[in-house]
Amino acid sequence: MPPLWKKLRKNPFAAAVSSAEAPAKISVRGLDKSFEEKQVLTNIDLDIERGESMAIVGRSGEGKSVLIKCILGLLTPDRGEILIDGHSLDSDEGDALRASIGIVFQGGALFDSMNVWQNVAFRLLQQGTAKRKAKQRALQCLNAVELPAKTAELDPSELSGGMRKRVAIARTMASDPDILFFDEPTSGLDPITTDLINELIVNCTKSLGATAVTITHDMSSVYKTADRAALLFDGRLVWQGSKRAMAGSKDAHVRQFVQGKAQGPMTRNSPQENNTHASNTQASNTQARQGAENYDSASENRKTS
């Protein structure tokens, strides 16, 4: 609770005015991204409000992960603008913005060379937090994701898939981020663990008061974790709306995706469909390479600035 003098100094209308005028937490405008000849994202416009939980859904290989990597600055878009709190990641506020973002990668992306608690406390240790304090925070976060304290000393290779995801969530929570990204958090998990992870996502987002973006193709995750959803197809956002609107949507793409049918507008171009896998593999290889190159140029820019 802020002290009384702080309350009195506050303009009672300021909050209302600032929230009305405040820019979206994440704003994407006219985003295009291609890998060599393959156009992965085309003219993406997306606004995610603060405190909102947004699910981006779509079939595998539609560019969902590429979209969040562009938002995170891990890939450079060909065209378009990405603003977080009204600022670009390349601006002077870039480092502070990056520090306010947490991401749970698809496979967890835990560092093999460290044990669990060191993974969870990684950012804190990098920031110079004392080892004992960092470990204490790591244990709190592990407890929050319902992992026993003895897990802290294990190596990532000793964990199951579900445990790895939970540790990844704990690692994200450890630095109290404002924005949380979850990349396919339930892929490859059994239904019970899936539900557990979905609950953790909801609890984690609520407890941190964060804005959440979840990439998934699992509708149960959408219904459980998201306020709104957007459907990505053929590199475009073909539909956006609340999860309730999604469930009752008459849009043919949404209906096919929600009902999980093989026949429909999302699978109409069968020859292209056959080529999708090969071109996606090529695209993901190029993506990894561009990720490294992008980091080179980004760090060069930061160095220059």
Partner: protein, 268 residues
């Protein structure tokens, strides 16, 4: 198409292939140079991850010691045996200690140690970084506000540059020791005389040239291994490819640079 044009095309095709290969090679060379320059720039900007540097020095130096020691010791022993067979007939066995010292300090210890470290450490570095790349751990590093160059590349470059010269100094001693043991206990040389000739033959410039070579080789191994790992793509196959490329390119670079460094130090 007229036959003349077809003939021209046929003749130009191999030239085109050669040209493309040369361009690709030059492009890779440029990318490695840019990668090296960027890594080097991070070396002089704080913070340095001292714990990572310590780990890499232990991994590169300490754990490579047995391999390098065995390789250079046995090479020194073989050198004495082979040179004895040749020099005995020419009544020039006095030259054996000189040959052993010069060959080991100038060439055998730096090159063999470099090749061993390229196989053992270079492959491991490339595989580890490539695995981190394909499993998104490098992306995770970046999103956790850790600079991958500072955290992954700089410690390995430092470890390579520091450890290989030390390994070569140890290798020099063990190589000469191995040769001496064979000369004294197997070939019947007088121990005092052999050691005296060895001391007389010791050449500080040659020794330092070997240490300088080791510094260059260590840096090259780390640079090429990190480069191949950092730009890996394509899952398990990509990791395998990066590892192979790291070992092959490091080994070739060692042999090529060895020639140029020898020319630099000893050509008149």
């Amino acid at each position: 198409m007229p036959p003349l044009s077809r003939l021209c095309l046929l003749l130009l095709y191999p030239l085109g292939t050669i040209g493309r290969s040369i361009l690709r090679f030059l492009e890779t060379l440029g990318r490695v140079a840019a990668f090296g320059a960027l890594s080097l720039s991070h070396l002089f900007r704080p913070p340095l991850h001292l714990e990572q540097i310590r780990k890499q020095i232990v991994e590169t130096g300490y754990y490579s010691l047995p391999v390098v020691a065995l390789t250079v010791t046995f090479s020194g022993m073989v050198l004495v045996l082979q040179s004895y067979a040749g020099f005995q007939s020419a009544l020039a066995t006095r030259a054996i200690p000189e040959l052993v010292v010069l060959a080991i300090t100038r060439e055998l210890a730096p090159v063999l140690s470099g090749l061993m470290v390229a196989g053992r450490v270079g492959g491991a570095m490339a595989a580890e970084i490539a695995t981190m790349r394909v499993s998104e751990q490098i992306d995770a590093l970046e999103t956790l506000s850790a600079n991958p160059y500072k955290y992954l590349i700089v410690p390995r470059l430092l470890a390579g540059a520091i450890c290989l010269p030390i390994l070569v100094v140890v290798g020099d001693s063990l190589g000469v020791l191995g040769g001496t043991l064979i000369a004294v206990y197997k070939l019947g040389f007088n121990a005092d005389l052999f050691l005296q000739y060895t001391r007389e033959a010791f050449d500080l410039t040659g020794f330092l040239s070997g240490v300088c070579k080791a510094f260059v080789f260590g840096t090259l191994i780390a640079l090429l291994s990190c480069y191949n790992g950092f730009y890996a793509s394509g899952g398990a196959q990509g990791v395998g490819r990066a590892t192979t490329n790291a070992v092959v390119s490091s080994s070739i670079a060692i042999l090529v640079f060895n020639y140029f460094l020898t020319e630099l130090f000893f050509a008149r």
